[in-house]
């Protein structure tokens, strides 16, 4: 049965929203290093901890590399552990992100997506997430402040599921969501607490009765098998995410999916993308639908695992699929473009793709109209 919300909707930024979710989850350890536009997350969280809302041990470390290293250590020791970062922070952390996934540490990390240098830019695109796309971490992308909050509440259940045991990144568009105030319905504290449950890892490092080795050496003998096991975990993560989404959806009475189908029914031309820009596209879809144009939107929430089968199914009726990547891939095509091409292989649907929104240049409705009309350049809004 849906529960009543605490005090109705309140205005919070995406950063504050995620910090509130973290405080409700009350992780044991939170090693972190500040970086724009993620800083509001740790600022608000630190304030909530100082006010006694959560009892988390916040560890101020000297870099993101250390933040993730400490998070892995505490997660495997048996403590629920989280961290947060953006952009260059994720770049510096990347080495250890692979290790977190390989050691199967069920860490939850809040990400405020931001462009990578150079040139220096503090605004949103998805290049940072793309950089670690093959690391073995789960990456979920929010469209709104509310969804960023909800995904954060659900993330520990996914990360810590015995069939998964992988880090989960809750990604929200830097500034566009992290610094934007939108109405948010907080789930009551005790409901979050019950939903998330107690932290449990098999054979924690501090279990002195059952001594285990972490961070093992594996050469030609077992390396392949241990890396392959992450494929299996990612495959199992799809039904786990759906199960967790479904359970939480019943509690809060809001729909969640690894994909969001918007006006897909009978749509011939469908835009495919991730993140906050989906909202802008939805308005344009409504406008074009009112004029009788058969257009729709398929929004990807779960970037990793990439639900290729479900995507193919959702697009079965489309004659043209338009992929919008918020990152570039000099020398090739970006991630969503190439993965959509693979997902659609053998389908008769036409595939078109654009790069948009680099360094915070937001997509505007006129550009969305041009994209649907087939009149947009490969790189949206590129100035000559």
């Amino acid at each position: 049965m849906p529960v009543k919300t605490q005090e109705g909707a309140q205005l919070l930024t995406g950063g504050d929203a995620v910090a509130n979710a973290m405080a409700q989850i009350d992780p044991d350890v939170f090693p972190v290093y500040p970086i724009t536009p993620q800083t509001p997350i740790i600022q608000t969280f630190a304030k909530l901890v100082a006010n006694g809302k959560a009892s988390t041990e916040i560890v101020n470390v000297e870099s993101e590399h250390s933040a993730m290293s400490a998070t892995i250590g505490s997660a495997l020791a048996g403590a629920r552990s989280m961290t947060a970062t953006s952009s260059q922070g994720l770049a510096l952390m990347a080495e250890v992100v692979y290790i977190a996934a390989g050691m199967r540490a069920p860490i939850v990390m809040a990400v405020g997506n931001r462009a990578l240098s150079a040139p220096l830019n503090i605004h949103c695109d998805h290049s940072d997430s793309m950089m670690i796309r093959d690391s073995g971490v789960i990456q979920l992308f929010a469209e709104s402040v509310q969804e960023a909050y909800d995904l954060m509440v659900m993330a520990p259940r996914i990360a810590e599921h015995p069939d998964v045991m992988l880090p989960v990144l809750v990604c929200q568009d830097g500034f566009t969501l992290t610094h934007s105030e939108e109405p948010l319905e907080l789930t009551p504290d005790e409901v979050v607490k019950d939903f998330v449950g107690e932290y449990h890892v098999p054979l924690p490092l501090l279990d002195v009765e059952n001594v285990t080795t972490k961070g093992i050496f594996a050469l030609q003998d077992y390396y392949t098998e241990l890396r392959y096991a992450m494929n299996a975990a990612m495959e199992k993560a799809v039904p786990v995410i759906e199960e967790v989404f479904g359970e939480y959806s019943k509690i809060v009475d809001r729909p969640f999916g690894i994909l969001e189908e918007y006006e897909i029914e009978g749509a011939e031309r469908v835009i495919f993308l991730m993140g906050s820009t989906a909202g802008t596209i939805k308005d344009v879809v409504d406008e074009l639908r009112a004029k009788g144009e058969k257009v729709g939107l398929l929004r990807l929430v779960s970037y990793r695992p990439f639900p290729a089968e479900q995507i193919r199914k959702a697009l079965a009726g489309a004659t043209e699929v338009i992929v919008l990547d918020r990152s570039d891939a000099p020398g090739s095509v970006p991630s969503l473009h190439s993965e959509m091409a693979a997902a659609l292989y053998g389908s008769s649907a036409k595939l078109r793709a654009h790069v948009f929104g680099l360094g915070g240049r937001e997509l505007v409705p006129d550009e969305a109209r041009a994209i649907f009309a087939g009149e947009a350049p490969t790189h949206i809004a590129l100035r000559s």
Partner: protein, 174 residues
């Protein structure tokens, strides 16, 4: 939907009032959104903030390009940029100044002596007076905007001064 664009220098409290206008819209039962646009974050640099207020759920996340209301907290900015850019047909520009600058000739603009009003109420920042004017232009009830401001700023600023300054800004558009 009412779309508002705020122009100010970083440190003048534009982000705060952009959020307070949204808060008041929420109190009035509307769907709202408020977000700032920074360059390099440093005090004194020109910045913008945006507020959207609508009867329908706001989903778009692009910056406000065709504002119904433009608020200028720092009058010298009108010489540095076109603050009226994209102003909607019935839109209005409200400037914190005693006399409209020449740069706004031909634009539907109104001078709000907000700095003077703020000082009369013992307040250092004129942003709350401009907030009152913005609320009046946006059709937000005075009580909602006063309540929102007192809720957020009432610990640091005198509640009666806040209410008075906002009411006077509000009255500039009556």
């Amino acid at each position: 939907m009412k779309e508002v664009r705020w122009h100010a220098r970083a440190g003048q409290g534009a982000k705060t009032v952009s959020q307070l206008l949204a808060e008041a819209g929420l109190l009035a039962g509307s769907s709202v959104q408020a977000f700032p646009e920074y360059g390099p974050e440093r005090r004194g640099a020109p910045m913008r903030a945006y507020t959207r207020i609508s009867d329908k759920t706001i989903r778009r996340h692009d910056p406000v390009a065709a504002p119904d209301i433009v608020i200028v907290l720092e009058p010298t900015l009108v010489n540095e940029m076109n603050v009226a850019e994209g102003l909607s047909k019935d839109g209005v520009v409200l400037v914190d100044t005693n006399e409209l600058p020449d740069a706004l000739k031909g634009v539907k603009a109104l001078a709000i002596p907000a700095t003077k009003i703020a000082h009369n109420h013992g307040l250092k920042f004129s942003n709350v007076v401009m907030l009152g004017a913005a609320a009046a232009a946006g059709g937000i009830p005075l009580a909602n905007i006063q309540d929102a401001a007192v809720k957020k700023l009432g610990k640091r600023l005198d509640a009666d001064s806040l209410r008075g300054a906002i009411a006077e800004g509000y009255a500039c558009l009556a």
